[in-house]
Symmetry: C2
Subunit: 332 residues, 2 copies
């Protein structure tokens, strides 16, 4: 099914007159139960449900402004991006889903305060901010679930970046994907901490989209992934309900390592780890053996995200002086 066919059912046939200027923010998010594998590549429908924690003030701030020009203008972190570049082309293609050719062109300004070198995908917060801004620009007042499903069509994990705190993205079963949206889990956990470690800034050779596809097509072990993810998601939900950090940390770390295991079992092998990744994992395991309650998660890249609680922050900062600590519920 085509994105535009799904979206047309939720927006007016005639593109509304846009507002003069809108500006929104959406947070980045880190999955504790990973999204790995698509059942529909066009609509970014996942093979498994996932669960994330949003990063509070870290994310994308996006403004939209109709302009009297023949072409859209895209700026990223105050720098103009040529419309032929993939970053701008994706945004423009997404805007086109919501407007007709005679509707005004748009100036899109996005500022990310995410340390992208730490392996945080800016596409999640980027597309979440973009759909929020589009919704305001045209005055749609879309339901949160619809907006999340639309964000998903831009980038799968963007569905989760529309909310703060813990978020669950339902896999859904419908062909049009409109039951595959994210929802806020109401739990507050003020002591919860994330730590970002930038081990290497090397560009990854294979993007997530291609990586998922290769895993799905070539890794025998991937067959066990959907069931594991479903079980992990339930464990994470109960750990959040019980504020059981050990269960949460263990489940998230094993989930991330299992996702990487499916990549490693692919052909050609997909190893996102660098030597520093292995050294850091070994360091974390040693710290844990010495009594520090510290776990980690990793996405499709070499960098490591630490999971701990406020009482361990000093020990974590001592072990990793370069860590950037995030308190996702700081403004709760």
């Amino acid at each position: 099914m085509k994105k535009s066919d799904v979206i047309q059912r939720y927006i007016p046939t005639k593109t509304p007159l846009p507002k003069e200027h809108v500006e929104v923010f959406a947070p980045s998010n880190i999955a504790l139960c990973k999204y790995w594998g698509k059942r529909d590549k066009e609509l970014n429908l996942p093979i498994n449900a996932s669960l994330s924690i949003s990063l509070g003030q870290l994310g994308s701030r996006t403004s939209l402004q109709p302009i009297d020009a023949a072409e859209d203008q895209v700026l990223l972190n105050d720098l103009s991006v040529d419309n032929s570049q993939s970053f701008a082309a994706k945004i423009i293609a997404y805007l086109d889903l919501f407007r007709t050719a005679d509707s005004p062109r748009i100036r899109v300004e996005t500022n990310n305060n995410i340390p992208t070198a730490a392996g945080l995908a800016s596409s999640a917060s980027g597309f979440a901010a973009l759909i929020k801004a589009i919704d305001q620009l045209y005055g749609y007042a879309l339901e949160p679930q619809v907006m999340s499903a639309f964000a998903r069509m831009g980038s799968g994990s963007a569905s989760r970046s529309l909310f703060d705190g813990f978020v669950q993205w339902h896999m859904g079963v419908r062909e049009d994907g409109m039951d595959s949206y994210a929802e806020l889990l109401p739990a507050q956990w003020p002591e919860f901490r994330l730590g970002l470690l930038t081990l290497t800034e090397a560009e990854k050779a294979v993007g997530s989209r291609a990586g998922m596809q290769r895993t799905l097509e070539t890794a025998h072990l991937y067959q066990s992934w959907p069931l594991q993810a479903a079980a992990d998601l339930e464990k994470l939900r109960s750990a959040i309900d019980d504020r059981d950090f050990h269960r949460l940390g263990q489940t998230a770390e094993q989930n991330a390592l299992s996702m990487h295991a499916t990549m490693i079992a692919s052909w050609p092998p997909l190893l996102y780890w660098q030597p520093e990744s292995v050294a850091t994992m070994q360091q974390i395991w040693q710290l844990r053996e010495s009594g520090i309650d510290l776990y980690f998660t990793m996405d499709a890249g070499p960098n490591i995200k630490l999971l701990f609680t406020a009482d361990q922050q000093q020990a974590v900062e001592q072990a990793f002086p370069e860590v950037q600590v995030i308190a996702p519920f700081a403004n709760a």
Copy 2:
């Protein structure tokens, strides 16, 4: 079922008078389709069939000699080993399976010319040599399949070290395990080469026996392993039949990485890799992209075993000056 109960069915009730001195050799072996997971811990019965290549002149030379003493004597590489140490205790317990208490004690001398630091298990060639020596010592003249099954009871992969060249270890289905033995595959492949790289001599924290068990009990992804191993074994057999080195190399590398993937997906995580392991894998993949026909395999340790053919030997030695090259069919 107990080892002794199985063995008693194949040897005389009364221990024969031993010969004065026997000396035998058994090669080490490297699995191209790995043995990972036991269906019976007492008899070392595997969850999957496996396929290996024996290492020619690299292995264990063992001599047995009855002695007039109250206790057995065990020597490893010309050094006396105390009978309370695990190495000697395992050998003595194995000898006891074949003799009564009134039978003479035995002096066991084993010399390994295997670079054990390269992560080659000496237990495979060690128990293969031991059962060959026991067979001669007591004049049993056991059938090769029975001898292989007996070697398996000492150490699973020892079942494969009774033969030169390519060897398949059948998983078997019987409770007594006597259909779980290794057999020689008759193929000769004179151009086949292995390269041993010693990346680190660090002792591994978790032995294979405990590692398999942890994987089996905690890694969801392990569920897919037995079917993958069965498929890989068939691919390897056809690659050997067709002398198709690419198919063999690809299958062996993916099989080894998939085994490591099941370990990585275990809890607590089992990561046998060191930072150097990752750096070397990346180097191998770069060499392959540059046109060198080079693959690798890894066992439950950090070191890497290269797979290539004679025409690539010069390029491999240039990239890895410290490599120890083995031609398994040199004396064929």
